[in-house]
Symmetry: C2
């Protein structure tokens, strides 16, 4: 069997396993994303071993989450995000500071060196917005207050993550350059500002720009080109590729043909996202966790990761009411692929050993699996709460009006 | 820049380059597929070097052509293919025998050994059905007599290619096992028969089978799973993955929701196929052809490749009239990715040297570029011819009736 065939077999296996997992969880009335991740556990090295983590499957997983965030961006308008900007900022900052502090202290307690402490802390701060936003999308709750806060906080989270990872890599390499870190931060903020404000303006001035080329019968391929381009640019300056894709979605979502675009992106995203969920599941390392010490450590780290992120994000969102703050707090908990990537960086930098690596990956997957089942009830409570709180209704009304205005503009 | 980002950059570059090439050729009124291939030349190693041939870009190209043939399969019904079966068989056989003989003799003339002769001959016999069927699709001519003959001949062509490649590899490795070759052939014929007849029967008995799973709100993801599965199986037994994908398309095209399936496959195929066309262009090796000897050899080999394939396929299709035979003859000429793959196998087996490799790749690309501009006029002539020839009208009528019947069944 030649190499391409082997990879096609692995893609076939993970797609089938993820959708079978989806099928089982759907019939059980449970979140399908958990089923897809568990499908990945079964197809992956931990059980059947048909699917492997390699360059090609990693690429498919990455494109899966890039498309997911692009799709989420398409459904997100900039002014909605800015309206919850202050809350998103405190959620993002507190949701990074608390887990980082907790991870750092925990590493000191178990007697690790500085490099270990910083990498463990960095893995604890990671947030995988892909998982939560996928569930919120399924629930139709992306355009709620809580959904917007989570998305905004995820962007801020990622900007802070650049700094933390840069510090961590510097410490592991024995160097530390604050000027470099500050300049990374400035470039990231500048990139986001220019893309969002500049891109949105361009599209608002010329809403048909995506279908101006002759090859573009629909805005789909130009949209995909913008998505890939901004994902690469974001990644190039140190941000996550998915942040670039999310911004791309927000920008091209200003197009006059957004609904046509959404309809064409949907099957492409539906094809790719199972590779992302399956990939997360396939990271499970049962052998690496097959002793009591590792399991105890896993339980402790996971508890700490959940508690610190929840408290940080909850406190950050408290001004929006308890129900919203609870949803936002839980919504930020999944570490998903981001935690796994950070742990992998720590492993290859020699800062953490393979046991800690397995523990951190286990923590990332557990935090990812426990959240989706909790979200539907929380969304209902948060949205009911909003209707009962008079303070929020003032916000809700212009929101609805803005959306109607936007829809009317879309249909012109 | 990490590895995934590098690959995303290459995918971005080739997608952009292919679509810019498409744009230019569309404005010039020329076939867009040629523009996409030339976009690949510019982005690839020959000119800008932003795009590279590597495991990931090869995978994307392969999935591109797999999706293209799946889409062609969706638009092809088995009974239509069987109706032109006898013509397709003679086109397939003569279209293999003549180029093989010509390539073999040419290699003897330039003084190559047996292994060189067989690999050169094998590269001459290859047909890239992807290019022609893409142009025929754009012209809406897949469901014409000529379109069906070309598709049927491509399947037969590929079955014969298994034998030839098996002989070639055996000779290069110094072994030759006729029993092995016959058994490969039998397995291939059995696979095609079982998939087409069995698969079609299953879907005809239960036309909703693709949406029976709960996860499948539409037949799209189940269809993609079948496509990947049959592509892998075909490849596993020695056929091209695209033949499996084509059969998968024919089978799932029996679904009661074929039109919904086509609508969802379309954007996925539109996203992936530029990677295939761009990949072909990126294979151009200008440095390897930068001397007079190589260019003379290239011209001679290309002329021989065009003439032998055209004459073989033309004679094979002559019973359908001259206009149809001319279209079929030209339609079989592009060697595309198949010729390149065979040349690559010969290079890695040590049977051909890097200069001959560059020449064969050049021949594959030239044959691929010259055909699309010729096809539109030939399609018009062949279809007009069919209406004027009374013999053919007998065929045309039940065909149209069958299609109406089928459409009516689809809409139930």
């Amino acid at each position: 069997m030649d190499h391409v065939t082997q990879i096609l077999l692995q893609l076939f296996a993970i797609l089938l396993a993820a959708k079978l997992g989806n099928e089982v969880f759907r019939r059980l009335g449970q979140p399908t994303v958990v089923g897809e991740i568990l499908g990945g556990v079964v197809a992956g090295p931990a059980v059947l071993g048909v699917y492997e983590i390699n360059a090609e499957t990693t690429l498919f997983a990455e494109i899966g989450v890039v498309l997911l965030l692009f799709q989420v961006g398409l459904e997100t308008r900039l002014h909605d995000l800015l309206r919850v900007g202050a809350t998103a900022l405190t959620v993002g900052i507190l949701g990074v500071v608390l887990p980082f502090g907790a991870g750092f202290l925990a590493a000191q307690l178990v007697g690790g060196d500085l490099a270990l402490a910083i990498f463990l802390a960095a893995a604890m701060t990671a947030t995988s917005v892909g998982i939560t936003s996928n569930v919120l999308r399924d629930l139709g709750a992306l355009r709620t207050n809580s959904g917007r806060i989570i998305l905004g906080a995820a962007v801020i989270d990622d900007v802070l993550a650049i700094m933390i990872l840069s510090v961590a890599s510097g410490v592991a390499a024995g160097s530390f350059d604050p000027v470099n870190i500050i300049s990374l931060l400035l470039v990231a903020v500048l990139f986001i500002g220019v893309v969002v404000i500049g891109g949105t303006r361009i599209l608002r001035r010329r809403r048909s720009i995506l279908t101006d080329p002759e090859f573009a019968e629909t805005p789909f391929l130009p949209g995909m080109i913008v998505m890939l381009g901004l994902a690469v640019l974001a990644s190039f300056i140190g941000l996550a590729a998915i942040i670039g894709a999310f911004l791309a979605g927000m920008v091209v979502g200003e197009s006059s043909e957004r609904h046509a675009l959404e309809a064409e992106v949907a099957p492409v995203a539906a094809f790719f996202t199972p590779f992302f969920f399956g990939f997360i599941g396939a990271q499970v390392d049962i052998a690496g966790l097959a002793n009591v010490d590792a399991l105890v450590l896993l339980a402790a780290i996971t508890a700490l990761a959940v508690a610190s992120k929840f408290v940080g994000a909850f406190v950050g969102a408290l001004r929006q009411g308890r129900a919203t703050a609870t949803l936002v707090g839980w919504g930020m908990v999944p570490r998903g692929e981001v935690g796994i990537v950070v742990a992998g960086l720590g492993l290859s930098a020699g800062a953490i050993d393979s046991e800690i690596y397995s523990v951190v990956v286990g923590m990332a997957i557990i935090t990812t699996l426990i959240v989706p089942p909790l979200l539907p009830a929380m969304v209902r409570r948060a949205e009911r709460g909003r209707l009962e709180e008079p303070d929020d209704e003032r916000v809700a009304e212009p929101e609805a009006a803005a959306e109607m205005h936007e829809r009317a503009a879309d249909e012109d």
